[in-house]
Every structure is written in C-alpha cells, then in structure tokens.
C-alpha cells in the first residue's frame, strides 16, 4: 500500500499569559506507509538531564540521563504502605537525619518527590504521590526546617526504582525521594 501520505509536526508552546507570542515550529511531512510512527530526528533523552553538584538528582533528570535511580545525594528515601501516605514509625529517624543535614546546610533547598507503586490508576497515583511528598514536608517543618526551603512534586507511578511486579519491588517504589538543590 502506498496510498497514505502521513505527516507529523511539533507543537509550539504558549502559556496562558503569553497568548500573543506564537512561534510556529516546522511541520514535517513524510510520505510512506509503514506502520511505524515517524520519529523526529535528534530527539532523544541523552544529555538533557542534569545532576546537582552535591550528587543529588531528580528522578526525572535520572530518567532523561538514562540512569533510572533517584537515589543519589545526601538525603535518604522513606517508604510507605500500599495506598497510604502516613509516615511510618521507622522512617521518623530517617527524616530526623535528613532534617539535621538540612540544618547544617542552611543555604540549600530540598524538593520532596512522592512516588507510588504500579498498582492503581495513573491519575490517582499522581495525587497519592503528592500526599506522600506533603507528609514528609510537614514532618520536616515540625522538625524546624522552614517550609520555604521545601518544595514538593509528585511523579505518581511513572518513575519506579524497581521494574519487577512483586511485593518487594512495589515496597521499594512507594517512596519519597529528597533532592537537594543549591
């Protein structure tokens, strides 16, 4: 079959506040009829992420870098039960250690990432990850870290540390990861 002309193009981004400033990217048209999607030349994740100078990286940077981890940096992860966002008793000491490191490095900022295991809907897990990140933020604030130094983000179930489909993997993936930003 050689009948269908296909095309694809990039989009342009405009924020709601910048409606006037449209820049139109090139529209690439390609002829052909394979069942493969057309890929944009040069589009890949390499070299797009960054790592902070303290070795701490966001899980999304790790995804971009192809390092899939989000474990680096001076602060330790904490973990959660299935579909819960309360701080487990054994993680109190982890959060206290994280808080004292932050007290000793007063010019740093920390982003708390909330993560979920693969079970459940994508969107519900987005909200659950946000709950988990907020729980750690609240705990750090009660330990005296100013809330302005702490931001939160949820990655839902999108960035698992462990790729298997079992209890041990799910337990590792239900986590808060702490990214130190200078």
């Amino acid at each position: 079959m050689t009948l269908v002309q296909r095309g694809r193009g990039g989009w342009v981004t405009r924020t709601a506040l910048q409606m006037g400033a449209l820049i139109v990217l090139g529209v690439i048209f390609a002829a052909g009829c394979s069942s493969k999607a057309k890929e944009v030349p040069g589009a890949n994740g390499a070299n797009l992420g960054e790592t902070n100078s303290n070795g701490s990286s966001t899980s999304l940077q790790d995804l971009k870098n192809g390092t899939m981890g989000g474990t680096g940096g001076p602060l330790s992860d904490i973990h959660f039960g299935y579909n819960t966002y309360n701080i487990e008793p054994q993680d109190g000491s982890v959060l206290k250690a994280n808080a004292s490191w932050l007290e000793g490095h007063p010019n740093t900022h920390v982003q708390v990432e909330g993560h979920c295991d693969e079970r459940g809907s994508e969107e519900y897990n987005m909200a659950l990850g946000a709950k988990r990140a907020q729980s750690a933020k609240d705990y750090l604030v009660t330990l005296g870290i100013p809330s302005e130094r702490i931001s939160t983000i949820s990655y839902g179930k999108e960035l698992p540390l462990c790729q298997d489909h079992d209890d041990s993997c799910w337990a590792q993936n239900r986590r808060d990861h702490f990214v130190v930003q200078q």
């Binding site: 079959m1 890949n44 459940g120 987005m126």
Partner: protein, 441 residues
C-alpha cells in the same frame, strides 16, 4: 459547523458522500446482525476498475480496511478472497450485473461490490452492500477524493455497513490517542486510527506525557506533560500544530479533561497535598473550584452533554466514583462495590459510566448506570485492565491491558464482554487510551 480535520490532506475531501439509491427498509435495519447471534458472513469483493486502477492499488487499500474494520466490529465472519468464484474485473457491481449464486454458493450472507474511477488526481469509489439471500441492494455510497483519502472512504463505508446491518453506525471513522513508551523509556502521546493506520507521535519531549483527551471535533487534544520538568496541561491544536500551556495559580496541575464542546477544561490541581478539581476556560482562566476536600479528587470526565462531571474521590476513605452537576449541587457517589474504583468514562448516550475497579492485585473494567445500581464486569480477569474509553457509537470500549505481558490497548464489545483485538502495536507499554468522536466532513 465542523472544523477541518487533523491530517490536512483530509480537509478538502468528501465533498460528495452521496447515498446512491438507498432503499432503507425499516425491517431490514432491525437486528439482521446481532452480537449474540451467530456471526454473519460477508464477502468484500475487489473494486472493479472503471479507469485508472489497473494495478488494483485503490481496490486493495479499500478492501483491506473495510475487512479490518468489519473484523474489529465483532459482528462478521470474513470470507477469504480465495473462496471467491467471480472476478470483479469481469463482472459488474450493480444489481443484475453479477450472479448472486456465485456468492450464495460460498455461504455469504452479505456481499460488498463496487467500482473505482481514477481521473488525474481524483479518485471516485462507488461501493454497494448486498443481501445475498434476498438478492437485494441494502445500501450504496459514492466517495470522491484523492488516493490519500481512500482509507477514510473505506472506514466510512464500514461504518455504513454496520448501520445497514445493525441499525447503528459503526465507530471506525475516528481516532485513538494513547500513551506509549514506544520501546524506549519516555512516555509520549501517539494517535492512530482504530484499525491501526496513520500512527503519529504527537509529543516529542523525552519526559512523561499522560492523559490525552480529545474534544468532540478531534481537532484539539489535551494532555499532561512534565516537559517543563513540572507537570502542566497542554492544549494542542492538531491542525495548526500549536499548543497552549495551562497552569493554575492554586498549585500543580496533575490531570484534566477537555469538555466535549472544547470550551472548558476540568483540571485536577494539587496544593498542600490535597488535590481538587477546578473548572477552567480553554485558555486556562479559572471559572471556579468544583471540589473542596483535603483529600484526593481526580480523573474528571465530562458527560456527553457537558452538564455533569464524573470523577474519583477518596472522601469516603477509599477511591470511589462520584457525579457532580456542573451547574452546582452536591456530588453523588455511584460506586459501592469494591474498595478502589477510579478512572470513570461516560458512555456517548450519557446513560452509563465505565470505570476500573481493583480485583485482587489487578483491575477490571466495570460499567454502571449513571443513576447508580449494579455494576457489570465487562473484562475477563485476564491481566490488569484499565482506563476505559468509549467508542462514539457506545458499543465498544478501548482499554489498556497487561494480558499479553506489556500493556497494550485492546477493543472489547460492551454488550458481550468479548475482547475483540489488540489495537496497538505494543512496541512499548501502551496506556491511557482516548477514543475520539467521529471525524467530521
């Protein structure tokens, strides 16, 4: 007035989709073909070349897509062309120009015949549906366009065959959006036709893109992306290839859906750990807050008339489906079975809601009347079955399933629960399907 369509080459076509001498007998339209009856057999003969299709390229493309769509419909058994006795190039396609006995002898209940005329850049296809036993024409269509338009002519004819044989137009002249890792590690948004053609990658940012939803024109696509390293919604104009970023002053946008008329967006916005729903205009201006809890309110889904929103909330202690009138009024819980019900989708008639419910460590798809009541399980417990999206005719659901290992998008017939086919290639993990409305002229 309908807006032009997304692949620009479709915009100028189908100036003339003419019903040729359709004798619409009411009794014929009633349940000749039913999902519970034995499958009807159909033969789709090649198109006779009246001029210009000597190598049968147009005929081949047309027949292949009609066959694929009829197969996906779940109503028909296709008779292999190897069994056909008659050569379409040697016989006619009008009533009286061919011999029904040639088709009765291979047990065809229905027969498609037609012709193609190519004049310069113009392709004209005439196609007819015949009832073999009654030796009568049930339906006929003329299509005019370019060679690039032939697949859409075939989809529209397949939809018309379903209308003539089941009384309800088929759903195949439409698009499917979904999320796929495409074999890599980034989740990007793709679109394709239901029958697997015209696969386009619609996003190109190596991060995470989720939750595509179409407006009714299928010109606009809303999705969530982490392309700015934080989640935000993007409303893409698939025709002009531009998009706007939609954020909220209240917090981080983590999901949303565009209204059927394309004028509003329901967005899930997280602040301080609480996620609530907000109604926005299409340019991101806030109209009002829809929920006000300290918990989780996500996965908004507009009713087809735009009057009501279905969503998932944990306000009872577990994720459950609620409906809320957008004119104001209390949210009403409709799911009471199961302790993890989420991702609602309204049927096109507005009478039912499909959603995913946890069964053990997996999910299955259920359908419940919008008034509430007993849910019906429509998947079979094979793999985890998630994110239902209705076909525009309301007979089918697209959903993601891990039944084959990696997640792929599958098609099921709601009335019978029959899993008909995978719809996506499955190169990576395919999730979050969104089935568009019928494409316009």
């Amino acid at each position: 007035m309908k807006k032009p369509l997304l692949p620009i080459f479709f915009a100028a076509i189908f100036a003339a989709v003419i019903s040729v001498a359709t004798t619409a007998h009411a009794q014929i339209r009633m349940n000749i073909v039913g999902p519970n009856s034995q499958l009807s057999s159909i033969a789709v003969s090649g198109l006779k070349s009246l001029s210009g299709d000597d190598n049968h390229q147009v005929s081949g493309a047309f027949v292949a897509i009609v066959n694929r769509d009829l197969e996906l419909s779940g109503y028909f058994r296709l008779i292999s062309p190897h069994a056909y006795i008659e050569d379409p190039q040697q016989s006619g396609y009008e009533l009286g120009q061919f011999n029904f006995a040639d088709w009765r002898s291979i047990n065809a209940d229905f027969l498609v015949k037609g012709a193609v005329t190519i004049t310069g850049q113009s392709v004209q296809v005439t196609a007819m549906l015949y009832d073999v036993a009654q030796q009568r024409r049930m339906m006929g269509k003329n299509f005019t366009g370019s060679t690039a338009d032939v697949p859409r002519m075939a989809r529209r004819f397949a939809d018309a065959i379903l209308e003539a044989t089941t009384g309800q137009r088929g759903p195949f002249d439409s698009e499917l959006a979904f999320v796929s890792t495409g074999g890599g590690r980034f989740k990007e948004i793709y679109t394709q036709t239901i029958d697997g053609e015209d696969l386009f990658r619609r996003t190109d940012n190596p991060t995470i893109n989720l939750f595509p939803s179409f407006d009714k024109s299928a010109r606009y696509l809303l999705y969530l992306s982490y392309k700015s390293m934080e989640p935000a919604l993007y409303l893409a104009d698939l025709k002009q290839k531009v998009e706007s970023k939609i954020t909220s002053r209240h917090g981080m946008v983590i999901g949303g859906e565009i209204s059927p008329d394309g004028q509003q967006i329901a967005a899930a916005v997280e602040h301080g750990g609480a996620t609530n729903l907000y109604l926005l205009t299409r340019d991101g201006s806030e109209l009002r807050a829809l929920t006000h809890t300290s918990g989780i309110n996500v996965s908004p889904a507009f009713s087809p008339d735009g009057s009501t929103l279905a969503f998932t909330s944990d306000r009872s202690g577990s994720p459950q489906i609620y409906l809320m009138p957008l004119a104001g009024g209390e949210a009403r819980r409709i799911t009471y079975k199961g302790n993890y019900n989420t991702t609602p989708a309204w049927s096109p008639k507005g009478d039912r809601i499909a959603y995913q419910s946890r069964t053990g460590g997996r999910f299955d798809i259920f359908v419940i009347p919008q008034a509430g009541g007993d849910p019906t399980e429509v998947t079979d417990g094979n793999g985890s079955n998630e994110s239902p999206s209705w076909s525009p005719d309301g007979r089918y659901l697209a959903f993601s399933s891990t039944r084959g290992g990696r997640a792929r998008i599958y098609l099921l017939m709601v009335q019978t629960g029959k899993i008909i086919s995978a719809l996506t290639e499955g190169k990576g993990n395919d999730t979050c399907p969104a089935w568009s409305w019928w494409l316009g002229d």
